[in-house]
């Protein structure tokens, strides 16, 4: 790991300012992704701007939506009693991220900003039609996640919260990579308040994506059997030693059905 400057601002505006000044700065939330990459020499930022000084943590359940502050650790999302009532599938998702250490350091803001193709949260954001609040604006999830490890965020832009509309019901089924426990295939299925259905898949492709065929079938009838015979083509899916593209394609359907069965 190389040396770096360490800054821990207390205000969002100061954090953005510090980033502007830095030669090659990086925001840090839980550090669960950033620090391992620095240790491996894959990233060597000149400045670390630690966002934990912003103290923006908490889950707030409103009448139509739930707003989770960016600095909220996964364990707090998983453990929120209010969230378990409002969007149980989202609480369950958070409880299945990594291991207890990771869940007590990693944050929702860090996770969505990082947009790891194997991360869990992006699937919930996309399926629930979340809005990402940043220091500068509000962005729909459909516009926010732009590809593998890439988002619509500008260099100095900070994720401040994620707002999830409360659905009629939703469910998440994850098939973890057996070694890393990241999602090898994760499917989030949501029936939104207006009755429309969204299905988002993570882990399987270059980034999180929706499956229109499944959404159409489930809109007609929200039941696992509606997905019989519907499979995502393996052509553009990830393939590695843990799972071929064909296996991932197969798992998407299996996990989608399980997500529907689990939907509450």
């Amino acid at each position: 790991m190389e040396n770096f400057n360490y800054i821990r601002p207390a205000k969002v505006a100061d954090a953005a300012k510090a980033m502007k000044k830095a030669k090659d700065g990086k925001f840090m939330s839980g550090g669960m992704t950033l620090l391992p990459t620095m240790k491996q020499g894959l990233a060597s930022p000149s400045d670390i701007i630690d966002l934990s000084g912003l103290k923006n943590s908490g889950v707030k359940v409103g009448s139509k939506s739930v707003t989770i502050q960016a600095g909220t650790i996964h364990a707090d999302v998983a453990g929120s009693k209010d969230l378990k009532k409002a969007i149980p599938g989202l609480a369950k998702l958070a409880g299945g991220i990594g291991d207890p250490h990771v869940r007590h350091k990693g944050t929702i803001g860090g996770s969505v900003a990082n947009n790891d193709p194997a991360a869990d949260y992006p699937s919930a954001c996309l399926a629930l039609g979340a809005t990402i609040h940043t220091s500068d604006r509000k962005l729909a999830a459909d516009k926010f996640f732009t590809g593998m490890f890439s988002t619509a965020l500008k260099d100095t832009e900070i994720v401040t919260a994620v707002e999830f509309p409360i659905p009629k019901k939703c469910g998440y089924a994850k098939f973890p990579n057996p070694a890393s426990l990241y999602a090898m295939v994760g499917v989030f299925v949501a029936q939104l308040a207006d009755g429309s259905v969204r299905v988002a898949v993570t882990g399987a492709g270059a980034g999180v994506f929706r499956v229109p065929e499944m959404e159409a079938a489930l809109s007609k009838k929200f039941a696992a059997s509606s997905l019989d015979g519907i499979a995502v083509k393996s052509k553009n899916l990830n393939s590695d030693m843990h799972a071929s593209a064909e296996y991932r394609a197969h798992l998407i359907t299996v996990m989608a059905k399980r997500a529907v069965d689990a939907a509450k």
Binding site: F175, P178, A179, S180, M241, H242, Y247, H250, L251, V254
Partner: protein, 789 residues
């Protein structure tokens, strides 16, 4: 024997654990010496390449750099290369082809991670930064990463072995075995791969090497399972210094599983280079990714086996051909693992009249392969127990009964492959395991699982292993470069407390507890008044270390022998003090009494008398109470047992869950059942890991290690295993006075076959490759699914 108290057979809590679990252990990396420097190794990024040039000029000028060393420096200093300490001869009589293994690469690199240069600096970070500035020019050569391709490789790993074959060794009577196959009623054939594993001890390897310019002697702190062997090799073969000028200390060591037996380049380089930087100590602690790359790996066999049976289902012959990967260099004991530690166990628990096995040991451009928990015996058990199960299925005989029919029942039993089993009751373990696992009602559980969409399978593994290594003369005749006796010294202090100096080494086994239990049992001394000293060549007499489940059967027997001498001497002292004849003195529960009188002395009083030496004639009885012993076993010991595993496979995803696991083991007499259970638990988990999770993968095209971190190498987790059902049977070992066998490796030896027999049973397939990961199982199921459609 009682499970309470502190003597033999008691469930004494581990004395060392308080220290370990509160972070007060003293591991190599915890030690810091004055003026210490830090090492970082430049490693090969290529699987196979010629080194065209190494330029260290820039690195030497980097901040904080104290020294940069390459193969040229090693050669100039005439520092000897790494050795393989067991000579194997091929079938044709030729000696194994050991290629050179310099401490820092000379001319060529042979695997990704091969040690090329050593950079020493004021801090680890500075050393690492300077290492990045060492510029090495390589000319890349073709490489091979698996044994299947290795014998037709374009560029041999070592010139001495043009077809990459280190040796072609055989055991058993080929003609007699062929004849048995001619007359067989049925022949079962199987092809198996025993997957390569990466050891993953919790503590990575580490070393601090230092040179004392005054006494002209070296000290090496290192993560070793056998510091004396390390000193011997570094002295005699590397030629660093004579043994009395080299001290090797292995302090607390956090797990080894075999991987810390070996003498590695990094540790030798650190202690050697210290002299070249004015004697400043050099510390090196492997990063986890270096452990993945450069610790000796385990297993990696490809085997074809055939089993002949007669019309009554009795095994008449067994033929095995194994290709065993050695990696890019022959590690310290690499050659004996796929030969004498493997093929000598191919008789399993069965009376097989004819066995013939051939082993090709093969170089590949990968990390060296050497002993890993079980070393050869898991590989043997895997072949035997998979083919026996397969034969039973083919013959439509219940696998448990097929085994029973073929069990060895009379002892001693001479197998056709060297080993002579001394004692056992294999049917007793089988009966107990069948009962505990509720074997007879398995069908009900299978139907219940099917209703949930799960495929349930059951698998047995009736393993035997040979440990407590080993009779020195016997292994010497087979090519071993060392003897495998063990030593002990018992020092009774004047106040009656006891120090045990042992040549074995604890790195997780709990010797501080079990050895103290033996002393407490024999001398009646409080267990807290016994200390165990090990792991320092300046403190402890020569000893052979810990591996091959030898510290009980061999190490404790040496202690026991020394305790016999202590008792005899103490009786003489007691007799003199109590004015009786030594023959009339009895010793029980820590008290010396004189037959027919009420005279008595406590052990502590006798110890004090021995040291003050007031009450006896020092010309007849020497003062003091200290005795030593060396114990050379007369045979291996033969733990055996039956493990039964049940799995459920999710037909939709291919995920295998171990839902039930029963282990019945015969370890002879047991010193501490709690510690033994812990060893069994750990071993089973490692075996489940091998069967379902762990698989080291090198990329065929690039030669890179793909499973170089926990992101891709799956270790078993607590949640992956069920609660184990354990029990012991006992046939005391006749070859040592304590009647002990060994328990450290049995779990890892037995379990892969039990798990894979269950997996293949669930799927109705002959074989599924280990590790049976979800993807592997899912792929294996596809033809069945297609057929069903």
């Amino acid at each position: 024997m009682s499970e309470t108290g502190t003597g033999i057979g008691a469930r004494v809590k581990r004395k060392e654990d308080q220290r370990f679990i509160t972070g007060k252990g003293n591991y190599t990396d915890d030690i810091n010496l004055p003026k210490q420097t830090y090492a970082y190794f430049v490693r090969s990024p290529h699987a196979h390449a010629t080194i065209k040039s190494i330029n260290t000029a820039k690195a030497k000028k980097m901040p904080g750099v104290v020294g940069v060393f390459t193969g040229e420096d090693v050669a100039n200093d005439k520092l000897g290369g790494l050795i393989c300490g067991w000579m194997i001869h091929s079938k044709d009589g030729s000696p194994m082809k050991a290629g050179p293994h310099p401490v820092l690469a000379q001319g060529k690199v042979r695997y990704v991670g091969d040690h090329v240069a050593l950079v020493v600096a004021e801090t680890k970070e500075l050393a690492k930064a300077a290492a990045a500035a060492v510029s090495v020019t390589y000319a890349v050569l073709p490489h091979v990463v698996d044994v299947a391709d290795a014998m037709k490789a374009k560029a041999p790993v070592h010139d001495v072995a043009p077809d990459n074959r280190v040796f072609n060794w055989s055991i058993g009577d080929e003609a007699a075995t062929d004849a048995a196959f001619k007359n067989a009623a049925h022949v079962t054939k199987i092809d198996l791969v025993n997957n390569r594993l990466i050891p993953n001890a919790m503590e990575p390897r580490a070393a601090i090497g230092s040179y004392d310019t005054g006494t002209e002697s070296y000290t090496l702190y290192t993560t070793s399972q056998n510091p004396h062997v390390a000193r011997l090799v570094i002295s005699a073969f590397h030629g660093l210094a004579p043994e009395h000028k080299l001290r090797v200390i292995a302090p607390d060591v956090g797990g080894g599983f075999g991987s810390k037996i070996f003498i590695y380049a990094e540790e030798v380089a650190c202690v050697w280079a210290s002299k070249h930087i004015g004697g400043r100590p050099i510390k090196w602690t492997a990063e986890r990714s270096e452990s993945f790359l450069a610790d000796a790996h385990g297993r990696d066999h490809v085997t074809h086996a055939e089993l002949a049976t007669d019309a009554n289902g009795i095994i008449t012959g067994f033929k095995v051909h194994t290709k065993a990967a050695m990696g890019a260099y022959l590690s310290t004991f690499a050659s004996c693992v796929p030969t004498y530690l493997y093929a000598t166990l191919l008789s399993g628990q069965y009376a097989i009249p004819n066995i013939y096995a051939e082993v090709d040991a093969i170089y590949t451009n990968t990390a060296p392969v050497d002993a890993y928990r079980g070393a050869g015996r898991p590989e043997a058990t895997y072949v035997v127990e998979r083919i026996v199960e397969t034969a039973a299925r083919e013959l439509k005989i219940d696998p448990a009964e097929f085994r029973r029919k073929n069990f060895v029942t009379a002892f001693p039993h001479q197998t056709p492959v060297i080993m002579c089993y001394d004692a056992g009751d294999y049917a007793a373990a089988l009966d107990k395991a069948l009962e505990m696992s509720e074997y007879s009602s398995f069908g009900e559980r299978k139907s219940a699982a099917a209703k949930k969409g799960k495929l349930r399978g059951i698998g047995l593994s009736a393993y035997i292993e040979a440990c407590g290594i080993a009779p020195s003369a016997a292994i010497g005749s087979l090519g071993a470069g060392v003897g495998l006796w063990e030593s002990a010294e018992v020092r009774v202090n004047p106040v009656g407390t006891v120090e045990i100096l042992t040549g074995s080494h604890s790195h997780g086994q709990g010797h501080e507890t079990t050895f103290a239990q033996l002393v407490s049992d024999r001398l009646g001394v409080d267990i807290n008044n016994v200390s165990i000293v090990h792991g320092d060549t300046d403190k402890v007499q020569f000893g052979m270390g810990t591996y091959g489940s030898r510290s009980g059967a061999v190490g404790m027997t040496a202690i026991s022998k020394a305790l016999d001498k202590i008792e005899a001497k103490a009786k003489k002292v007691a007799a003199a003090v109590m004015e009786a004849s030594a023959d009339d003195v009895e010793f029980k529960n820590g008290t010396f009494t004189v037959k027919g009188t009420d005279k008595k002395m406590a052990f502590g009083e006798v110890a004090l008398s021995a040291y003050v030496a007031h009450k006896f004639n020092s010309a007849e009885i020497e003062p003091g109470l200290k005795e030593g012993a060396f114990h050379d076993p007369s045979n291996f010991v033969f733990p055996a047992g039956v493990h039964i595993c049940e799995v459920e496979i999710d037909a939709d995803t291919g995920v295998t869950e171990v839902v039930s696991y029963t282990a019945v083991d015969d370890f002879g007499n047991i010193i501490n059942p709690m510690i033994v259970e812990g060893q069994v638990h750990g071993g089973i988990v490692q075996g489940i890991g091998q069967a379902l999770a762990e698989g080291c993968v090198y990329d065929k095209d690039s030669g890179q290690l793909l499973t170089g971190s926990y992101m891709d190498y799956q270790m078993p987790r607590a949640a992956d295993v069920p609660n184990f059902k354990l029990a012991f049977t006992c046939t005391p070992c006749p070859s040592n006075p304590l009647g002990m066998k060994g328990c450290g490796e049995a779990g890892a030896i037995a379990s892969p076959a039990a798990v894979m027999n269950a997996v293949t049973d669930a799927l109705g397939l002959r074989d599924v490759a280990m590790p049976a990961t979800p993807q592997t199982v899912w792929k294996a199921m596809q033809p069945m699914k297609k057929a069903a459609e």
